[in-house]
């Protein structure tokens, strides 16, 4: 198989892996003849017709795999896949050619487990080591840590990668067993995460931190289970980010007849996850967004649900509320909340709703929950869409 064919097969095999961020604050070694540099805010180099960005060269080292994950089209049970592997130098050359021409921002290297985790991890490390040491590549590298990978290889890998990740796939042991019979949740996944946490904490390795990914809806788990696990990982494993990937049945896999997860569910999970990570909501507050089955209703924004379930908190007076109260208002994010606080420190009072709009507040959502100079704007159009306002105006016109 030619390099191009391998790129096509192993690229397609990695397309369900998620790795949106490429931000890394690693300082450059600036060795002679180096090429590449990580960027503190990441860069998207292209976008696919499905709307996802292409940032990294996202490939598998090999798609040969001994595991039988029921959702995965690289699983050993999926007989129709073409099986192949890259030679380390072959992949290095392909990548450097794309990087030099500005097609990609870095490398995302994952792999199936061929023969055993140790041997495959050695291959992955050979690729990233080759890039760093032979090609003097200083750009971004995201490397997957395979389940059951040995300690000494993870320790070596984190020296070269900007970010590493171990995929949880499911929120707990029992759900995990429904997805795979060859992997062990605690030992293969959580123990590896704990080691990574140790490398991050003690040695200051892994500048872009470590992440994980969940298959949403693959094992019938609820949103509460997923978010509870994510929150536990953020708090106890110093995880930087959880990714959620909506399950989609793939032909010739054991779950081929299962129904797909709506993509909006993935979006709602990201919104709620964001509330915990960026808005400093507590998990007990996130609980307010769940329905009786532990899922976030797909039709509503979780922040709005939380606000409506906690009416005592509102309305908040813009010129007096704390930062914490402000970020709880739908339509006010951390940036606009900070602007309001900064303005208050400069002893400038906000007197009009229009000022808030200029500052980035989404008034349509925020109005019912705030007062400005103790005045509350409760007009009909606060609660109606533009088209509805026209209808209402026409009705009033007919009446009078």
């Amino acid at each position: 198989m030619s390099s191009l064919q391998k790129l096509e097969v192993l690229g397609a095999s990695a397309k369900y892996d998620t790795c949106a961020s490429t931000a890394s604050n690693r300082t450059l070694r600036r060795s002679a003849g180096y090429i590449g540099a990580p960027v503190a805010s990441g860069i998207c180099h292209s976008f696919l017709p499905d709307g996802r960005c292409v940032t990294l060269l996202k490939v598998l080292y090999t798609n040969k795999c001994i595991h039988d994950c029921h959702y995965c089209f690289n699983a050993t049970s999926c007989a129709t896949r073409q099986r192949t592997s890259f030679e380390p130098e072959e992949l290095t050359h392909l990548f450097m050619n794309l990087y030099l021409r500005n097609y990609v921002e870095g490398l995302f290297l994952s792999s199936g487990v061929c023969q055993n985790a140790e041997r495959t991890m050695e291959g992955l490390i050979e690729v990233v080591k080759g890039l760093r040491m032979k090609e003097n590549f200083e750009g971004y590298i995201h490397m997957k840590i395979l389940p059951d990978a040995p300690y000494y290889l993870i320790k070596e890998g984190v020296q070269y990668a900007d970010r590493v990740s171990v995929n949880c796939e499911a929120p707990n042991k029992s759900r995990f067993q429904e997805l795979s019979s060859t992997k062990e949740y605690k030992n293969d996944i959580l123990t590896r995460m704990a080691w990574i946490k140790g490398f991050k904490k003690k040695h200051g390795n892994i500048p872009a931190g470590h992440t994980t990914q969940f298959v949403v809806g693959g094992a019938g788990e609820s949103d509460r289970e997923l978010l509870k696990m994510s929150v536990w990982l953020y708090d106890n494993m110093l995880l930087n980010r959880s990714y959620y990937s909506a399950f989609h049945p793939i032909q010739n896999t054991p779950l081929e007849n299962a129904s797909p997860t709506p993509i909006i569910r993935e979006h709602r999970l990201y919104q709620t996850d964001w509330l915990y990570r960026k808005y400093d909501f507590k998990f007990c507050e996130l609980e307010l967004a769940f329905d009786d089955n532990g899922n976030i209703p797909l039709a509503a924004d979780p922040k709005l649900l939380i606000a409506n379930a906690d009416p005592q908190r509102f309305p908040v007076e813009i010129n007096e509320a704390s930062y914490e109260d402000l970020v709880h208002v739908p339509g006010i994010g951390p940036l606009s909340a900070q602007r309001v606080i900064n303005l208050r420190k400069s002893k400038i009072a906000i007197e009009e709703f229009e000022q808030l709009k200029n500052m980035g507040v989404v008034l349509k959502r925020a109005r019912p929950y705030i007062t400005v100079s103790h005045k509350r704007q409760t007009q009909l159009d606060n609660f109606l869409e533009k088209k509805d306002i026209k209808v209402a105006q026409n009705v009033l016109h007919e009446w009078y």
Binding site: L4, L7, E8, V9, G11, A12, K15, Y16, A20, S21, T22, R30, G33, I35, G36, A37, V39, A40, S41, G42, I43, C44, H45, S46, F47, L48, P49, D50, G51, R52, C53, V54, T55, K58, H93, L94, N97, L98, L100, R101, N102, Y103, E105, G139, H248, P260, H267, Y270, L335, R339, V340, N342, L343, S346, I348, I350, Q355, N358, M359, G360
Partner: protein, 235 residues
């Protein structure tokens, strides 16, 4: 979920926004930036926290320039030549060429970067051993009219100054095209979101950089319209 990768939403320093807003094409024609500077002298918090309409417009201009800079840095594709030369055509709307050089110097420190548009060429490098005494130097690059110099001339000037040539591998755009297609998940098709991320205006600015992406988006959009029509006719 739209991707905000690279757009630093927290960079709120007025100085940075002033620098960016000044580079906006409209700022060459009106006095918005001067008016903003006067307000900043009196009360910086008004501008910093976007309280007034002028402040809002000022930030909007700054963001437009930042957006163009970020997207062009991402979307252009280089042709590589053995003279350590990376070449591409661009068509920016605002005055950002020197900022683009800053980005690519860091990324390709041993290379020379050549941008060209319809009228001019802009050449820059961090290498101290390469000089172009016959060209005009502005900001951080040499500039020349395209009728004055062509690519072959530039290569001829660089080659004798280099201790060794760069070994260019065989590479065709097909590699990227095949990889790009391999990443597409048809079940998640969302042309509207893709168009939002790759607006036609930006495709024009990156000239050839997004040619394949533009072609694929058009194909997918046409097939969507065709399917919708068939569905309608069948119903």
């Amino acid at each position: 979920m739209s991707c905000t990768n690279g757009i630093n939403l927290n960079d709120n320093s007025i100085g940075y926004f002033l620098e960016m807003a000044q580079r906006h094409k409209k700022s060459q024609r009106d006095d918005l930036v001067c008016r903003v500077k006067k307000v900043i002298e009196r009360d910086p918090a008004i501008i910093q926290n976007k309280v007034t309409k002028i402040a809002h417009e000022f930030y909007r201009r700054g963001k437009e320039v930042m957006n163009e800079l970020y997207r062009l840095n991402a979307f252009i594709r280089f042709d590589v030549y053995p003279e350590y030369l990376l070449v591409t055509e661009i068509s920016p709307e605002h005055n950002i060429i020197d900022l683009m050089f800053h980005h690519f110097w860091r990324r390709y420190p041993d290379f020379l970067i050549l941008f060209y548009d319809r009228q001019s060429g802009y050449l820059s490098t961090k290498r101290p051993d390469i000089q172009f005494p016959s060209l005009k130097y502005e900001k951080n690059y040499w500039v020349f009219g395209r009728d004055q110099f062509n690519l072959a001339d530039i290569r001829n000037v660089i080659a004798p100054q280099l201790p060794e040539m760069f070994n260019v591998d065989d590479f065709t755009a097909t590699t990227w095209e095949r990889y790009y297609d391999s990443q597409y998940i048809k079940d998640r098709k969302n042309i509207k979101l893709a168009r939002k991320a790759l607006p036609k205006k930006m495709i024009r600015k990156a000239v050839k950089g997004l040619a394949y992406e533009a072609k694929r988006l058009d194909e997918e959009e046409n097939s969507r319209q065709k399917n919708a029509l068939l569905k309608f006719l069948q119903s």
